[in-house]
Symmetry: C2
Subunit: 280 residues, 2 copies
Amino acid sequence: MSDLKLIEERHSHGGVQRVYSHWSHACQCDMTFAIFLPPQAANGPCPTLTFLSGLTCSHTNVMEKGEYREAAAQHGIIIICPDTSPRGDDVPDEDFYYFGKGAGYYLNATQEPYRKHYNMERYITEELPNLVSEHFPVSDSKDSIFGHSMGGHGALTLALKHPDRYRSVSAFAPICNPMNSQWGKHAFSRYLGANTPSWRTSDAVALIEDGSRVAEILVDQGLADDFLQEQLMPEALAEACASAGIDLTLRQHEGYDHSYYFISSFMKDHIQWHAERLKR
Amino acid sequence: MSDLKLIEERHSHGGVQRVYSHWSHACQCDMTFAIFLPPQAANGPCPTLTFLSGLTCSHTNVMEKGEYREAAAQHGIIIICPDTSPRGDDVPDEDFYYFGKGAGYYLNATQEPYRKHYNMERYITEELPNLVSEHFPVSDSKDSIFGHSMGGHGALTLALKHPDRYRSVSAFAPICNPMNSQWGKHAFSRYLGANTPSWRTSDAVALIEDGSRVAEILVDQGLADDFLQEQLMPEALAEACASAGIDLTLRQHEGYDHSYYFISSFMKDHIQWHAERLKR
């Protein structure tokens, strides 16, 4: 059993919000994650739902501002909030908010100097769920997954690449087609190299075009989001889903921006959506 | 009409979360406050509920972590979140988290060098509600008030001193008897001078003992709160209310601490409690 170090514990909404750190084999550094145990977890196992955060975030942003605990307590779901990248002084980085630390893109880097630490796909799909199952009362070998912006990209790509790992997937303002966005080009060229075809397995739209499938996707998108046109591209996801026969529910909201004020407004809907699918 | 400067605007939970700054005559400095306009405010006037924050906070803490917007939107209540003290380079301060900037104690200072700026009682009970009524669709000349810790002290004392201003009062982990706490003694001696009898009009327990009345009070208190015994003293409030015939609902919660994880857990209950009384 791997060692978990308890960093923080708070009673909230009838359950317990905790933060742990642990040595990550995938990322070759200490990693931190938040986990909310709903009241039901004191009496028996519960399903899990993982929230992947966006650029510049750690586990703390959604833990403090995401307003997920009430709905998680209502539905009896464990919420797992990982960090967004490897961390530490020896982890290579660049001085951009959209690359490096805080911007791991939930992929396994193949290029130097990033491939030693930047293995967030392996961390999120294998190491972290195994660790959580070892230490907490998890009822289901499958997780559900959602996320925001870069974390929405992570949720979509990981669900498409690992359909046996996840029961359901949703996203808030996801980066749908990073291969064609400035953020994504910057990150993929460094993590994955200049070989554009290899980028397709880290891009939700390209994965769908190339045959990856999930049954259905829920996406909420604010129409006053500053990143909508140039970085997020939900219309490309909608086209790919339509062609592939994927049941995409894309809800667009006048006036809403890219912030946690937007995320928290629709958090309850997403948790209920996953709860219905986790309990089928 | 006084000038309001819009600092921030976010759509959230069907309404709009805004932050404004303005020149304060009471505090002789620029002051900042947050205001949430529920969806109902787009169609007509709504009642107001003011949240007073605790030591070290500004308007941002509860705005980001308080989880009040869903219930406010449900009940159609405008939520006002003021700052906790005057601000600015020429505002006198001390290097304690429990005094000076971020710690105005919602009183009018009588002592130099504090009396020019530290007039939070006048700001909260007169200037800010007048400003809000000028600029926003407020349905009721009376406000309701609640708060946390030092802001719970503020809510209790202001409601007791100004019973015609407030329809209802509640608090999360309030400082109930600051005259007898280290924090309160430090603050009152500087803001109000060494004359202990003058402290009684800024202390909820003493105000009740001396004849001030409200009909009822709701208080939530965590039993794992580090400040419970030495700073908060809810048992003194309970005794004073029992003697005075004030209907105090004091709910004590195993495991909960002094943080926003505690506040957010019971926020919905408080907003519903005020909603019932605002609409009577």
